[in-house]
């Protein structure tokens, strides 16, 4: 606490009409002038603009201000901006406080008088607080110059490669037996129709071979400790039971394996063995044994694969392998957890699951793929006949509050057009019907692509929703409405394809809570700011890439991945980083060493000194949450620049008004 009262300057922003439209700025300025300690108060149209910042900087010098209160938008927006201004004017950056009169003022109140009164209160709060702020210097901590990438899809691969190519080590964690993710399952990509695996494959290999990238497949993040620049991550890894170095993928093991399970790569349209290669281009190019579906390892139930491998193969199978734990230290983490499809069985009106010829877009995708169950031929799953009528239902269960998916998955209009076109190329005498709500083809070359499809004969776009899909005497009937002709239509279909929505992958919630990164209302990773910081989580040191953040197509995903990588590189570029010094502090003479606070600290920043018997804080570990302060029965603990005195001064500012 400063002994001599600070000379405080108050700056009130109009933010164009955002604030001034509701709040009487002049009145806020006048009333601020009357506050104790305030020697200067002025308003400005846009304080965050260069002239605005200059005004603050110059006034500090001319008016000999010790402290500054900026009444403007939320501190989440420009707190650092104005702290920097204050610093550049030669004051300690902690002599600056923000009064939030926009997000929690002008924007939420209609009554001008009340909005103005509340803004005045906010200003008073800030004045009270800044008066009691102490000048602090940032705490410097070292940065571990390594990056963890979670998720081995195209986003994870791209981000890992960018960081690795910049010369930093990367840990790439993937839950399945290979990297590649969803993109590897795709047949072609819109709008250029180039073969998905052909463009992905080389990247997979590059990532796998890259000296700076260490791949942990069959792995998941177990635990995350620490903070930006200094994360300690525990990875748990399932064994592959196959020695990658020795395996030459001869496949003898799979031949003899008795355990058959649906092949997730083919969306369950085909079967695979318990020992298998996920797909042809999988890296590492070796077989994997999935212990969940193996007849038994502990105790060993069959062991046929090992026998076969020892006999015909390179005896690379070790059935006694154990799961491993890896302790990793990284400075930044990139979350690239990707997406899954909404459970189509929940959309009972479309009858998915009651008839094999009703399929999801990703199942249809597999059927289009040369590496798919039908090697690229389109057949009805029910009886293998070539379908003549195929109905595509866009927005299946999407843009629909009832299903919990009010959002648009962004890619469906495009891939459905592609699907219809591919179908028509493969079955020239076939007829494709596409039910759509509206076509969203924003993107380079997208609109042109859709137009091409729409003009192609044999593709019929029907604007409207499908009411139900039902089976009448072995024939699929699609009943919907064509809102352009205003008629209900009934279509006899051989195959019905549902463009179901993208949802965050199942384990992203678990990862988020370990990373302490917040999610949005749908379970996608939340960004720090939708416009200004779309690549970062609000939690420092966590960066976002791909469809785990929001539904995205491949170009957007790759772009965001490179963006996230460069954000991480920005952090790694310096060996140390500054941490907020607003941490807990103990007044030794008042502490009795009762120890109540010790177990409350999630960061073990508190300890009892063996010599003095009283509590000590490790400033480097403290995150400044303040829970220990609230618990301290003797008031010996305080939070720098958010002391009880300061909070109560703010409370008084509120109730005294």
């Amino acid at each position: 606490m400063s002994s001599t009262p600070k000379r405080v300057g108050v700056f009130v922003c109009h933010c164009g009409l955002n604030i001034a439209g509701t709040v009487n700025v002049d009145e806020v300025v006048d009333r601020a002038k009357k506050q104790k300690g305030v020697v200067f108060a002025i308003d400005h149209k846009y304080l965050c603009s260069e002239p605005g910042q200059t005004l603050v900087r110059d006034s500090i010098k001319q008016q000999h201000l010790d402290a500054v209160v900026v009444a403007a938008c939320s501190p989440a927006m420009h707190e650092s901006t104005f702290k920097n201004v204050v610093q550049s004017a030669g004051l300690n950056r902690y002599n600056c406080e923000i009064a939030n009169i926009r997000e929690q003022g002008s924007w939420v109140h209609e009554d001008h008088e009340r909005a103005t009164k509340k803004s005045h209160i906010a200003v008073r709060q800030a004045i009270e607080k800044v008066n009691l702020n102490e000048a602090l210097q940032p705490i410097m901590v070292p940065v571990t110059r390594r990056v963890l990438v979670v998720g081995g899809g195209i986003a994870g691969i791209r981000a890992a490669l960018d960081v690795a190519n910049a010369g930093y080590e990367v840990y790439l964690v993937e839950k399945s037996g290979t990297i590649g993710g969803r993109m590897a399952q795709l047949s072609e990509t819109f709008p250029t129709l180039d073969c998905s695996t052909c463009i992905l494959g080389p990247l997979m290999v590059e990532a796998y071979r890259h000296p700076n990238i260490k791949l942990f497949r069959l792995s998941k993040v177990e635990d995350v400790k620490g903070y930006i620049g200094n994360f300690k991550v525990t990875i748990s890894q399932e064994p592959a039971y196959v020695d990658v170095a020795k395996c030459n993928a001869c496949g003898e093991c799979a031949k003899v394996c008795p355990a058959e399970v649906p092949n997730e790569f083919d969306m369950g349209l085909t079967w695979r063995k318990a020992i298998y290669t996920p797909f042809a281009q999988a890296v590492p190019p070796a077989y994997v044994l999935d212990s969940k579906n193996c007849l038994g390892l502990l105790p060993q139930a069959c062991g046929e694969c090992k026998k076969a491998c020892d006999k015909f193969g390179t005896s690379c199978i070790n059935l006694d392998a154990w799961p491993q734990k890896h302790e990793l230290e990284v400075g930044a983490i990139i979350a690239a957890t990707g997406y899954e499809l909404y459970d189509a069985t929940k959309l009972t009106e479309y009858g998915y699951g009651t008839n094999p010829d009703i399929m999801t877009s990703l199942e249809f995708e597999r059927m289009l793929s040369a590496s798919g169950p039908t090697s690229g031929e389109i057949r009805c799953p029910s009886d293998g006949r070539v379908p003549k009528e195929v109905v595509f239902i866009q927005c299946a269960g999407q843009r629909e509050p009832e299903t919990g998916l009010p959002y648009c998955s962004k890619i469906c209009c495009m891939y459905t057009a592609r699907h219809a076109m591919m179908f028509h190329h493969k079955v020239p005498d076939g007829q494709a019907f596409i039910f759509y709500m509206d076509i969203r083809a924003g993107g380079k070359g997208y609109e042109e692509f859709v137009k091409r499809c729409q003009e192609e004969k044999g593709l019929l776009y029907l604007r409207g929703r499908v009411a139900k899909v039902y089976d009448e005497n072995g024939k699929l009937i699609v009943r919907g409405v064509d809102t352009l002709s205003g008629k209900t239509v009934e279509i006899k279909a051989d195959i019905v394809v549902l463009a179901v929505g993208m949802i965050p992958s199942a384990d992203s919630h678990e990862l988020a809570s370990k990373l302490k990164a917040s999610l949005d209302m749908y379970g996608f990773f939340a960004e720090a700011h939708p416009k200004l910081r779309p690549l970062e989580s609000p939690t420092a040191g966590i960066y976002l890439a791909g469809a785990g953040h929001a539904p995205k197509d491949i170009p957007d995903t790759v772009a965001q991945a490179s963006g996230a990588a460069s954000k991480a590189l920005d952090l790694l570029s310096s060996p140390t980083l500054e941490r907020e010094p607003t941490v807990a502090k103990v007044t030794g003479e008042l502490c009795s060493g009762c120890g109540i606070c010790i177990p409350l600290c999630p960061y073990t920043a508190l300890s009892l000194s063996p010599i003095t018997k009283v509590a000590e804080v490790s400033a480097a570990l403290c995150e400044g949450c303040g829970t220990c302060i609230a618990s301290c029965p003797s008031g010996a603990l305080t939070l720098r620049n958010l002391t009880d005195e300061q909070i109560l001064a703010m409370v008084e500012a509120i109730v005294a008004s």
Binding site: W107, V108, H109, K118, S518, G626, T627, L639
Partner: protein, 143 residues
């Protein structure tokens, strides 16, 4: 009373979830009564019952403590520690005769701008119908 009573509500909002949620309410231009003024703290775990009681003693008619949903705390489980304190505090405030509607603990995530607005509307109305708390005067009453 000639003019309607306008309660004074002090809001302690955690920086990562609830304050961000309150900001989101603003970004979405949701409207709620201006009776609440917020104080941004890093974590709801910072809130010492002393601060709540002092606020009431100083003349606040209601106090809202808002933090992240359990499991989502930016500091692992600061909100759980708040919940522990709050449960016992609530029991004691009952003894003091302070209605539960006046002191509330709510979980509001950064995505729940609408929820924040709703909570504030609802709480303001409840406190308004309870009338002023006026603790200062109650303490002075001797005769």
């Amino acid at each position: 009373m000639t003019t309607e009573f306008e309660p004074k509500i002090v809001g302690f909002l955690c920086r990562w979830c609830s304050y961000a949620g309150a900001d989101l309410a603003g970004t979405n231009r949701l409207k709620y009564p201006s009776n609440i003024s917020s104080i941004r703290v890093n974590c709801s775990g910072r809130i010492d019952p002393t601060l709540v009681m002092k606020a009431l003693a100083l003349g606040a008619d209601g106090v809202l403590i808002a933090g992240c949903h359990p499991g989502d705390c930016h500091y692992t489980n600061g909100n759980i520690k708040t919940l522990r304190r709050f449960k016992l505090l609530q029991k004691m405030l009952d003894q003091f005769g302070i209605e539960r509607e006046r002191v509330r603990l709510e979980w509001i995530s950064a995505a729940e701008g609408d929820r924040y607005a709703q909570v504030v509307r609802n709480m303001t109305e409840q406190v308004r119908s309870l009338g002023p708390l006026n603790w200062q005067r109650k303490m002075e009453v001797t005769a």
